[in-house]
């Protein structure tokens, strides 16, 4: 569970980020302008900050050095599809950027990547009696190890990282098999069946009718 500071003056976007981060188990804290964000960041420790560039009060570029000094990793939200904003942000020491509009799956993947890179993400998850160790690629059920194929583990990881969010078969293929795969999605179904059977996840990995799968926790 990561404490994540969201700074964006667009209330609906801010709320949306908070809802999505909350769904996968993070704790979001919302700020609507630069000064408020600075006060919050100084009052408590955050594992990550999602920072909009254009803000009332202090803007994103002005806020970044303070956050860096406090040791908070930063992902920039650039609304305009502006290359110069992105380059400037990265050069100033931002860890990544997300351009609006974004897909929640992509946003979560980037958040997760930055958390892991900066050593703030959890490297293990406990779902029921199943413990998943992401760093060592090891899964145990009731303390006994479960043997998973590489693709099965990757699929499990994607589902856990996007817990409570339904993913389409195409999205899963893109993220796990890492290629554009049109039509034949039976591979996904077969891997899901095996995961359910090996981990006893029949009620954890839900089939979403005409859409895909969702891991619930």
């Amino acid at each position: 569970v990561a404490q994540i500071l969201i700074v964006d003056d667009e209330v609906p976007i801010n709320d949306l980020l908070a809802i999505n981060l909350n769904l996968v188990g993070h704790i979001p804290v919302q700020a609507y302008d630069g000064n408020e964000a600075l006060k919050l960041a100084e009052s408590r420790a955050f594992d990550l900050c999602l920072l909009d560039v254009m803000l009332p009060g202090l803007d994103g570029f002005e806020l970044l050095p303070y956050l860096k000094k406090l040791g908070v990793p930063v992902i920039f939200l650039t609304a305009r599809d502006s290359l110069s904003d992105r380059v400037k942000g990265l050069r100033m020491g931002a860890d990544d950027y997300i351009t609006k509009p974004f897909e929640s799956v992509e946003m979560l993947a980037r958040v997760d990547a930055v958390l892991r890179r900066t050593g703030r993400g959890k490297n293990s998850e406990l779902i029921g009696d199943v413990k998943i160790d992401f760093d060592e690629h090891r899964v145990t059920k009731n303390g006994r190890p479960v043997k998973l194929a590489a693709k099965e583990f990757a699929l499990l990881e994607v589902l856990v990282k996007n817990a409570n969010i339904a993913l389409t078969r195409d999205q899963l293929i893109n993220m796990v098999w890492e290629y554009e795969y049109i039509g034949e999605t039976r591979t996904v179904d077969m891997h899901i069946q095996r995961l359910r059977k090996k981990l006893g996840f029949e009620n954890v990995i839900r089939t979403v009718y005409k859409y895909g799968y969702r891991l619930e926790r």
């Binding site: 667009e10 209330v11 609906p12 976007i13 949306l16 009332p56 305009r80 974004f102 859409y211 619930e216």
Partner: protein, 464 residues
């Protein structure tokens, strides 16, 4: 032929001709004077010789031939020769090669003067004079004047050498002159080229010469071109900025709509979140709709041809107030309207939109209180004024408020469904009517917006 070649050829030809003619005239006149001098001298001499030969002949039995031969022998060292014609026959000729010429002189004028002439033989030039002797013989006197003629030939040779040297100097001079004359023209041509290629250029020097005047005109023209280019660039930049802003303004609500729709689609969220998502989708969609309407109005104000109607202000004010009735009832704000100008000339639809935008702004940025909507004359101009006692605009943002999509207070603007186009639309509508929009404001005191219409012409004036 290139202009510089023409100038070069003209300068060169004229200079050379002037120099040659001057030289020739000088040499010739000097030569003529020398010859005249020679003739004068010869005539004096001949006169003396004639007398002394006549006297000597008396000692030689009246025979001239001996004295003539004697004189000839004696004087030829000094370049003087004699010849004698007796009874029509040439009996003696002292100058070599001159016999024939002398024989032709058998009949000199008999009035006592000397007949004079010129002759040349064996490379020697002579002045020839002849006169009758008392017995009817003819004495011929010849003087060697080669020196005079040699002088002339020498002068001509010197002159040719000088001309050749001068030709080189004049050619160089003519070339420099042609370059000098054409320099401003060449500069002009380079400058034209730079402007055509879009390279930066400098202004040409101006003076009262013809090229200087042309340069001055050209400078004016290039400055005008430069100005226009800058204006176009500014316009393009403004448009680009507008498009950037617009894409940002569109993207933000679209991001929300997309995100919330996805949220509804792929997660089993609780009712609270679900309701929030739907509310957001609806409000953001409305925001985009508002923006589309605003953009449409902006386009109409900018591009559509205006109609020039008499717009009666009292009913227009009434319609505006009426259209905001619900909003006014909710906020408890009253609109006080006073109409001191019966009508203005313009496009009713656009003026309605402008006034309605201004009043709505005033209502949105007020907390209770009242909004004054009035029209009156000021210095002969017609004014429509909307003033409120609302939150006001900070002085540093006053000039930005007419920029498209600019909002002083984002959250208030969102709450009232604004998209930052209202004042931008008003200023465009004002500009389309050649009217001015002036905004004065004080934070926490209120804002006054004036639309100042130009002085009206009578209809007859327009027809004229």
């Amino acid at each position: 032929m290139k202009l510089w070649v023409k100038i070069f050829a003209a300068v060169f030809t004229v200079s050379m001709a002037a120099l040659s003619i001057t030289g020739a005239v000088l040499i010739n006149s000097s030569h003529v004077r020398s010859v005249e001098h020679d003739i004068e001298r010869s005539a004096t001499e001949f006169d003396l010789f004639l007398t002394s030969i006549e006297q000597m002949a008396m000692f030689n039995n009246g025979s001239y031939i001996y004295s003539v031969v004697e004189y000839n022998d004696y004087y030829r060292r000094r370049g003087v020769y004699f010849a004698l014609i007796e009874q029509g026959e040439l009996t003696f000729c002292g100058a070599p090669g001159m016999s024939e010429r002398c024989a032709a002189l058998a009949y000199p004028p008999d009035d006592g003067s000397f007949s004079a002439g010129k002759g040349r033989a064996d490379g020697v030039d002579y002045i020839i004079m002849s006169s009758f002797l008392p017995d009817g013989s003819v004495l011929i006197y010849m003087r060697d004047v080669s020196a005079t003629y040699d002088d002339m030939r020498h002068n001509i040779r010197t002159m040719l050498i000088i001309l050749a040297a001068a030709a080189v100097a004049i050619a160089a001079f003519a070339w420099l002159i042609s370059r000098y004359i054409l320099r401003p023209l060449n500069r002009l041509s380079r400058m034209t080229g730079s402007i055509a290629d879009g390279i930066d250029y400098e202004l040409l020097p101006e003076d009262s010469s013809e090229v200087g005047r042309l340069s001055a005109d050209f400078n004016r023209m290039s400055l005008a071109v430069h100005d226009r280019e800058n204006r176009l660039r500014e316009l393009a930049d403004e448009r680009q900025l507008f498009i950037d802003d617009m894409s940002h303004e569109m993207n933000t609500p679209l991001a929300s709509i997309q995100g919330y729709a996805e949220l509804l689609q792929n997660s089993d969220c609780d009712d609270g979140i679900r309701r929030k998502a739907v509310e957001n989708i609806v409000s953001e969609t409305r925001r985009i709709r508002g923006m589309c309407n605003g953009l449409m109005t902006l386009t109409i104000a900018r591009e559509q041809e205006l109609s020039h109607d008499k717009v009666w202000l009292e009913p227009l004010f009434r319609d505006v107030t009426e259209s905001l009735r619900d909003r006014l009832a909710d906020s408890g704000i009253t609109v006080i309207s006073h109409c001191g100008v019966p009508w203005i000339t313009g496009d009713r639809t656009l003026i309605y939109i402008a006034v309605s935008n201004l009043v709505r702004n005033a209502v949105n940025y007020s907390e209770g209180g009242s909004v004054m909507l009035s029209s009156y004359y000021e210095f002969g101009k017609k004014i429509i004024e909307v003033s409120d006692d609302g939150v006001g605009i900070p002085p540093d943002q006053l000039e930005k408020v007419t920029n498209p999509f600019y909002r002083v207070d984002k959250s208030r603007s969102r709450a009232t469904g604004g998209c930052g186009l209202g004042l931008s639309i008003c200023s465009k509508i004002a500009a389309a009517h050649s009217a001015q929009m002036s905004i004065t404001s004080k934070v926490a005191v209120g804002t006054t917006v004036k639309l100042i219409f130009p002085e009206e012409f009578e209809k007859e004036d327009i027809k004229k």
